[in-house]
């Protein structure tokens, strides 16, 4: 006689991936960008990233406790949000403001809507937008790269981002390696691409959204008479296309839906860059498209194999 047996529903075999493993892969993919930010902007980058991550995890923990829900800090999604958030700050930002950003991202955007998988907009991007509108000067106080090496200069050697300087003064080389003013994680295109390739190789994301997004931006730049390579390499586009627009929760499920989503992101980004009063539009365009996801989903549903449209009950009566 055998003892008690597990009698669960089929299948009895699992691939072995968990949410935690996926999030860990995203963290690994973000490491090159983090390292690049420390190299380019100095140790304060590391401090900001650490403050942001720790405050996000603490916010998540406290929220779950207050709401009497199971603890979800183990899935590492709060760590990912923390890193992404920090990569969107200028290095001169006060850590106190960074903590404020974490509260907005985790408490308001993520947990108040039901936690992981339920937020309808990207927490990191929404928090960035909130901070940008609340502390617009502090959030766009850009520091020269390698300013930390120059002992004589004061902390804030302000500069403009390549997109805001009007004329294209930064070389492609500097843009690609991130040697220009900007947010912590968005300047070094090389580091972001390394992370993106890792995510694709690990099958965490497919290249569909990033490539469509970049392709749309490139085509529209040509239409507007802008330099497409400059548009692709500058601003938050790479970080947004690889890490933000590929967030599972806030993107459509089907490939067609994801394509439409990415085209929309590219379109809005270029419209804001070309016609808006802001120099940069990646965060806004992704968040706006996030909000449109339910509608995109409605019109991009997969057609089941051999599907015959069911007859309406009312029509037969």
């Amino acid at each position: 006689m055998v003892g008690k047996l597990y009698a669960s529903s089929s299948p009895h075999l699992r691939q072995g991936d968990t949410t935690r493993k996926i999030m860990l892969d995203v963290i690994i993919a973000l490491l090159p960008a983090c390292i690049a930010s420390v190299v380019i902007f100095g140790y304060m980058s590391a401090v900001l990233i650490a403050v942001s991550v720790v405050s996000c995890v603490i916010c998540e923990y406290i929220c779950r406790r207050i709401m009497k829900r199971n603890n979800t800090i183990g899935d590492l999604s709060a760590v990912v949000t923390g890193i992404l958030l920090a990569l969107n700050y200028p290095v001169s930002l006060s850590p106190l403001i960074a903590i404020g950003g974490s509260v907005v991202a985790i408490v308001i955007v993520k947990q108040m809507f039901g936690g992981i998988g339920q937020n309808f907009v990207n927490p990191a991007l929404t928090a960035r937008i909130v901070l940008l509108t609340s502390f617009s000067s502090k959030m766009s106080n850009w520091t020269e790269p390698f300013a930390y090496l120059n002992k004589n200069a004061a902390d804030a050697v302000s500069t403009a981002t390549p997109l805001a300087d009007g004329e294209h003064l930064t070389s492609y080389f500097d843009l690609f390696f991130g040697i220009h003013g900007g947010c912590l994680g968005e300047t070094c295109v090389l580091a972001i691409l390394l992370g993106g390739i890792y995510l694709v190789a690990r099958r965490v994301i497919t290249p569909l959204i990033p490539l469509t997004y970049m392709g749309t931006v490139a085509i529209l730049s040509l239409c507007f008479g802008l330099d497409p390579i400059y548009q692709l390499l500058s601003g938050g586009l790479m970080l947004g296309a690889v890490f933000m627009a590929t967030d599972y929760t806030t993107t459509p499920l089907s490939n067609l839906g994801r394509f439409v989503f990415a085209v929309g992101c590219g379109l809005l980004t270029m419209l804001i860059r070309q016609f808006g009063s802001l120099p940069e539009g990646v965060s806004f365009s992704i968040v706006i498209m996030n909000i449109l996801v339910p509608y995109i989903e409605k019109f991009t549903r997969l057609k089941p194999k051999g599907f015959i449209k069911p007859k309406k009950e009312s029509a037969s009566k």
């Binding site: 055998v2 996926i22 979800t72 992981i116 998988g117 194999k305 069911p310």
Partner: protein, 445 residues
């Protein structure tokens, strides 16, 4: 959707979704061993889809192997035969895998396995004679569904069936019974293929075998060439992707045709037969011995000596496992069938049915259930679904009790292959939700 192309394909057609499962087919080199006759068998009267059989023997009767012990006058049914020779002990209700009870004939074996004296090869000159012979053989779909074969082969006049698709994909991990059938019974398989093709007046035959069985592909190709049948029989080396052997997936991979939702393979001009069904059919046509034994893969981490065993139908699972050296450690999960679609049993004191093809037993480590967390909308279930369904939307509609929405999402199309749950990083029981969705649609009708 139906294409009228009846040329022989050389490469498989593209199908949607699917997942890469670990094969773990360790028993593929284990030649089938005939199990020593058990002291007692319990043969359920319902081993097929359709009407249950009524016992045609009484307690105390002496029966021989192959003698009919249960039959029904309904069309959708198949007769049941004694699988051991001996004395009918009792006719009683026994538990089935799904928890229901079923009437069964319990036979005490005399150990002699005397064949029934009236068994002889059937006459199959006309289609009607052939179909009666298929019915008398007790054959049901041996791939797992258990649909009576004679019903499947009796194609309605309005359907223009031109293709026989032979299912030798065997995409479930662990199971190697169909693989062994190819290696051990290839000439019988070909014999039955030719017979079915001729009787039903079909145009072509496509045999689908997954690439991970190169020896079976090679063997069948050579045999077909040797017998000069290559003008209408093709062997397709299918991608080793689960669920390649799912009926609709196999039809699409072998013919490029799509079976519409709620329709049968015959509507796409195809008949699908499992390779073991064909082997058994040939044995009946040649010798008159009906379906009384079944090859089973006994494997899994808690089995001492994994092997392929030929067992009389109605043998208790416990007896089969004891024949394989018993358990190597305490079993925590016992499956009837493969790990993707098999049923988890609550005890090993159940009985082998016609359509069973594997008994798997797992230790604590393999049996432990994955922790379920929240859906992160990663879309892996959508990408892997061979039927093009969107499980997250279906789950939502189930929660909100939206029947119309479930219908328009095509939930009835689900074949419960389990690709979605397999690939879900949140460990969701998506197949269970899909079953709920289907039950909701059915009960709303």
């Amino acid at each position: 959707m139906k294409s009228n192309d009846i040329s022989l394909p050389t490469v498989p057609f593209r199908t949607r979704g699917g997942v890469r499962v670990p094969h773990r087919k360790t028993t593929s080199t284990c030649e089938s061993i005939v199990m020593t006759v058990p002291s007692q068998v319990s043969i359920p009267m319902q081993q097929h889809i359709g009407a249950p059989c009524k016992p045609t023997v009484k307690v105390g009767d002496i029966v021989c192997v192959g003698q009919v012990i249960g039959d029904s006058d309904q069309f959708v049914s198949a007769p049941i035969h004694a699988t051991v020779s001996g004395k009918v002990l009792k006719i009683a209700d026994i538990p089935m895998t799904n928890g229901a009870k079923c009437q069964a004939v319990v036979i005490a074996s005399d150990g002699l396995q005397t064949p029934y004296s009236e068994l002889k090869p059937p006459k199959t000159d006309t289609l009607d004679e052939f179909l009666s012979a298929v019915r008398a053989s007790g054959l049901v779909g041996l791939g797992g569904a258990g649909f009576p074969t004679h019903v499947k082969l009796r194609v309605p006049k309005d359907k223009n069936v031109d293709t026989l698709v032979v299912n030798g994909a065997e995409c479930e991990p662990y199971i190697t019974t169909d693989h062994r059938e190819f290696l051990e019974n290839s000439e019988n398989i070909l014999y039955a293929i030719v017979k079915v093709k001729e009787m039903l007046n079909l145009k072509r035959v496509v045999i689908g075998i997954e690439k991970n069985k190169p020896d079976a592909i090679e063997l069948m190709r050579n045999l077909i060439k040797k017998e000069g049948k290559s003008d209408y029989i093709a062997v397709l080396a299918l991608k080793a992707s689960y669920p390649q052997g799912g009926e609709k997936v196999l039809i699409e991979a072998c013919t490029g045709r799509v079976v519409e939702m709620g329709k049968l393979p015959a509507d796409a001009g195809c008949i699908v037969m499992n390779v073991t069904s064909l082997g058994k059919l040939a044995e009946y046509l040649k010798t008159g011995m009906p379906l009384v034994t079944k090859r089973l893969t006994i494997a899994g981490s808690a089995i001492k000596e994994p092997k392929n065993v030929i067992v009389p139908i109605g043998t208790m699972i416990k007896d089969v496992i004891e024949f394989c050296g018993g358990y190597s450690e305490e079993p925590k999960k016992i499956l009837m069938g493969g790990p993707m679609m098999g049923i988890a049993l609550t005890t090993d004191e159940l009985f082998i049915l016609k359509q069973n093809n594997a008994i798997l037993a797992f230790n604590e480590k393999d049996a432990r259930l994955m922790e379920t967390t929240d859906c992160i909308r990663c879309g892996r279930c959508v990408a892997s679904c061979p039927m093009g369904l969107m499980p997250p939307l279906i789950s939502r509609a189930v929660k909100l009790n939206e029947i119309e929405e479930l219908k328009s999402l095509g939930a009835m199309n689900c074949m419960e292959c389990g690709c979605c749950s397999f690939s879900c990083p949140a460990g969701k029981y998506i197949v269970q939700t899909m079953r709920t969705a289907k039950a909701m649609i059915r009960s709303a009708k």
